[in-house]
């Protein structure tokens, strides 16, 4: 009895090659399905980091131009909070001035801070560093 021959109509080496190629293409196909399985990316997910910093700088500049940062002390904090409230009313944003405990959002809700600047102002006749933050 001679060595076994492959069944008629089949080339064993060719079939192995095709099976390897099939396996590779199947893997590629299932990998290509992964974007559909992942959560969809928000199309409005823009990089607005510079813009958020500009907004925070704008708010500080508005306070400065309106004279709210002049002669700061405990008595003028109320006026400052009213100005921040006006800006918050226009935009729906919250402003926080850490260092002098001033804000237009005192409800106690958790806010997400979108940008923060380090500023210096004269408070009670002395230089004081204030972290000026903007949040939602």
């Amino acid at each position: 009895m001679g060595p076994r021959r492959p069944p008629a109509g089949f080339s064993s080496a060719g079939a192995e090659h095709m099976q390897t190629i099939e396996a590779m293409l199947s893997l590629l196909f299932f990998l290509s399905l992964s974007p559909m399985l992942l959560p969809p990316e928000d199309p409005a997910n823009l990089d607005d980091s510079l813009y958020r910093l500009q907004l925070a700088g704008d708010a500080w500049r508005v306070l400065h131009l309106r004279g709210c940062l002049r002669d700061l002390d405990d008595q003028s904090r109320g006026t400052l909070e009213a100005e921040l409230g006006a800006l918050g009313g226009l935009s729906g944003l919250c402003f926080f001035m850490e260092g002098i405990d001033t804000t237009n959002c005192r409800s106690g809700e958790t806010r997400s801070i979108t940008s923060s600047l380090r500023k210096t102002a004269i408070y009670d006749g002395r230089l004081r560093t204030i972290a000026f933050s903007v949040g939602k």
């Binding site: 080339s11 060719g14 196909f29």
Partner: protein
């Protein structure tokens, strides 16, 4: 004629049957790649538009439409009258936008994207927002 000579060649029944699913899978993968490319192009166009609006707003608030006096300009203090007279059209051409709106009043609609900047305006330096919208 021997049996082996009738079955020479790479093409076999197995290969022929395999070609159908391979073709389908390749076609689907190429369609998916095309879709992903389209989404990426859309995201890039949105980011470009946003960056242009930010640039136009920054120029307007820092220099383009600000109050000037005594050789000094006041960034953040807008002179609303300077926003007319072709100012917006000039910026629109420079930025390569199909439409641009810059004003103190939020427009009703008709623009793909809008941003705003906090400014003061008028002699009383009233606090307000400068809207920059475009498509």
């Amino acid at each position: 004629m021997t049996r082996t000579s009738r079955h020479e060649g790479f093409v076999s029944f197995d290969a022929l049957f395999s070609l159908v699913p391979i073709t389908i899978m390749l076609s689907y993968s190429m369609q998916l790649a095309g879709l992903e490319t389209g989404y990426a192009a859309e995201r890039l166009a949105g980011q470009q538009l946003f960056d242009k609006l930010v640039s136009a707003a920054d120029y307007t608030v820092d220099s383009g439409a600000v109050v000037r006096g005594g050789g000094v300009r006041y960034p953040g203090w807008i002179e609303p009258g300077l926003l007319g007279g072709g100012y917006t059209e000039k910026l629109e051409g420079m930025e390569g936008l199909s439409s641009l709106y810059i004003g103190m009043v939020e427009p009703e609609g008709g623009y793909r994207m809008c941003i705003y900047r906090f400014v003061v305006y008028g002699a009383e330096k009233a606090a307000g927002r400068l809207f920059v919208c475009g498509s």
